[in-house]
């Protein structure tokens, strides 16, 4: 297959049972090129990347890598060939050192004894290549989330990877960390490393990609030779219809205070001296970098973490939050950042997930009659248009529908304040849009909303007012208007 120095994917198909998840997909990645692979959840991005990375076998089609036929039989085989996949959720062994993680499965030994000295030296070289000031002896659990991801990249590089598949690499990163990652990608690109870059954040594609490949329902929809494509056009390719506005226009009048926070301080100093109030039906954004204390602040407001000092008022009445239970009773609920580990009972039914926090709302004397649960759950599912049935387990839903399920669980009890921490992380454009619409409707119904997001675009696009946090300190509260500038917010958030 010629002297092509990169990867060629030709008419690759794959079915699971009757469901055809990939239909004769073809594209190529040249040496030193970043190809953005875009599509909604279920479009086939993960399947094609798993096929390239050797963890899934294709049904038909051909692949070639560096001019030779390429048929990886396992992820190990793909890695030997210089192709590595870096997952959305990092898969590091947290109790082991950085160097051990880099060499896991291929520990270097000398006379049968693990040779830590050489491993540390080699790992340290790759860390330096990425410009990371991390000791290879450090335990992974002591590292920040963003550094952990870079360890994954260092690991792939140490194994001489020449093609890296990055699956949603920025979903847990803040603005500056994203920039750092992009700088590294550009540097490695110059050194001849190729990338397949999977992301839901269309805004960042033009900053990083050389080429765009869009999939929809297992078909290749379009290929663009440059990345200067209007977001709307890409979004159109992805969902097969026009996505006219990403954010709904939200207009409300406010005159009734619902929630007030006074001098709130955390135990560990992750935020201090926070003061704000939210009106009925208002959407209140909290902007800041990763590590600014955003999540910690909203966790405290919904009773998940205890606070050192400070008061919280609902309808001008002071409440004492010692547990989420009490926050829920007072009408404060949260859709958490990590829906898989904090939001859902994955191995249990949708109806259990919706009803578990609402027994007090619909049970008569604490009796759980299956029919009552079922009808309550069905109502919740209809309310949000979740594509699923009450009896099905939550882990069988797509990411977007899981998020909708979580939202319906809380709005089923008519809360006063609904907190969204990273509402659209890892969710495709279509589902994202409907979550924004829901926020708008809730706001119109008089439910106050707090939105926390690493995606500044999102916070600015949704909120009536915004609180800006920088290293746990409240910098400003801005009222949203036409002339609010993203750059200005960024400046305040970083200083």
């Amino acid at each position: 297959m010629s002297d092509h120095q990169g990867l060629i994917v030709k008419e690759v198909s794959k079915s699971y049972g009757n469901a055809k998840v990939l239909n004769e997909v073809s594209f190529e990645v040249k040496k030193g090129e970043v190809v953005a692979l875009l599509g909604e959840n279920g479009a086939g991005k993960s399947t094609i990347s798993s096929i390239i990375a050797g963890s899934v076998n294709r049904d038909s089609g051909e692949m070639s890598w560096k001019g030779k036929d390429y048929n990886p039989s396992s992820p190990g085989h793909a890695i030997q060939n210089g192709i590595g996949l870096i997952h959305q959720e990092t898969r590091l062994l947290k109790e082991l050192s950085v160097a051990e993680n880099v060499f896991v499965g291929k520990l270097i030994t000398k006379n049968g004894i693990v040779d830590f000295k050489t491993m540390n030296k080699m790992a340290s070289e790759q860390l330096k290549r990425l410009g990371l000031e991390i000791s290879p002896k450090q335990l992974v659990k002591n590292l920040k989330m963003s550094s952990q991801q870079q360890i994954e990249i260092a690991k792939a590089l140490t194994l001489n990877s020449e093609l890296l598949i990055l699956d949603e690499p920025t979903s847990s990163l803040g603005e500056s960390e994203t920039k750092f990652l992009f700088d590294k990608i550009k540097q490695l690109k110059r050194e001849g490393v190729s990338f397949i870059y999977i992301s839901h954040r269309l805004e960042e594609i033009e900053q990083i990609a050389d080429k765009i490949v869009v999939l929809r329902d297992g078909y290749l929809v379009s290929t663009y030779d440059n990345a200067n494509i209007p977001i709307n056009q890409i979004a159109h390719d992805m969902v097969g219809r026009d996505v006219d506005r990403i954010f709904p226009t939200i207009e409300n009048k406010f005159d009734e205070e619902i929630l007030r926070v006074e001098n709130l301080n955390s135990f560990d100093g992750s935020f201090s001296n926070i003061n704000f109030s939210i009106n009925k039906g208002e959407i209140f954004g909290i902007a800041g970098l990763v590590g600014a204390g955003r999540t910690e602040l909203v966790r405290a407001i919904c009773g998940a973490d205890k606070t050192l000092s400070g008061d919280i008022y609902i309808n001008n009445e002071k409440i004492h939050l010692r547990s989420p239970q009490e926050a829920i009773k007072n009408g404060i609920v949260m859709v958490p950042e990590d829906r898989k580990s904090l939001g859902l009972l994955l191995a249990q039914s949708n109806s259990q997930n919706i009803s578990i926090s609402n027994f007090d709302v619909f049970l008569k004397n604490g009796w759980v009659w299956p029919n009552d649960v079922l009808s309550f759950a069905q109502k919740g599912i209809d309310l949000m248009g979740v594509k699923g049935v009450p009896e099905q387990n939550a882990n069988e839903l797509s990411g977007g529908n899981q998020q909708k399920l979580l939202i319906s669980k809380w709005i089923s009890r008519n809360p006063k304040v609904l907190i969204f921490d990273e509402p659209t992380r890892g969710i495709d454009v279509g589902a994202r849009h409907s979550i924004y619409q829901v926020m708008k409707q809730l706001s119109e119904k008089g439910i106050s909303i707090i939105v926390v997001s690493s995606d500044l675009e999102e916070v600015v696009g949704l909120s009536h007012r915004m609180l800006i946090l920088s290293r746990g300190v409240q910098k400003n509260i801005l009222t949203n208007s036409e002339n609010i500038s993203r750059v200005e917010i960024m400046k305040q958030a970083t200083n």
């Binding site: 919904c302 239970q325 009972l345 259990q352 578990i356 926090s357 049970l363």
Partner: protein, 318 residues
Amino acid sequence: MENIITFTKKVFRGTQGTLLGLIILTVFFSLASPYFFSARNFINILDQVTVLGIMALGMTAVIIIGGIDLSVASILALSMMVTGWVWDAFGVPLHYACIIGIFMGSVAGLINGLLISYLRIPAFIATLAMLSAARGLANIFTDGKQIYGFPEWLTNLSVVRHFGFIPVTMLVLISLTIICWVLLKYRKEGRNLYAIGGNPEVARLSGINVKGTTIVVYTISGFLSGIAGVLLTARLNTCVPHAAFTYELDVIAAVVIGGASLNGGVGGIAGTIVGVFIIGVLRNGLNLLGFSPFVQGVVIGAVIVFAVALDTFKKKER
């Protein structure tokens, strides 16, 4: 009739596989031994599983919340010896002594719960410590000696058959089973246990009092072990500090055979009762066929592996 069938189906939903296993075992032993298939022997089996069954009820709740209770058999012995000791050494009337014994069992369970939820000691370790401590205490009261010579009414609990066939001990098992089944299936408190086992942090953020519930669950497990201790005293007409030694393994086995997952969030009373009877039928049938207790151990081990492997296999297929 049709109603009975629908009801039975409802009760045993999700445990058909284990139920089928129980039926196959019953048929097998009926063919293999002439003594097995008789009303008399079935009452026998029921009698033999009473103590196991009562402890398994508590263990089901513990395993559903993702915990484990290794101390049930030791707590049984503790309750038994406290009962006998306060009666024997202080002349406390026996029915009060029984209540004190059961109370001690509950206290031991409460301590387990406090260690696990407030000191955050893993359940395995906390109850392992209790296994050792409670058994030690059980021996301390009488310096390892037995107590016997109880009034006749105590033995009668397990001997006198009411309504022509059923002694009080079995009635206790049956009523407790029904209460636990209703609690786990149709009460808010019971449904919360599944949420805790599914993911304790999700349960907490959903407004469930995870710590409080955990303490209650371990206390109930201790309480039921206490009742089992009194009933075993009635059956043996003696208090022995080494009573029910290593029984906790049979209890856990019954719950696991009944379909509960040690990861938590899965399990139920109906399954557990089937699991209890599988162990009871196996022991009884193998006895009748003349196999030694050693062989029974091997067979039960094989059945545990088989039941869990089948369950995993079924899940994979879905």
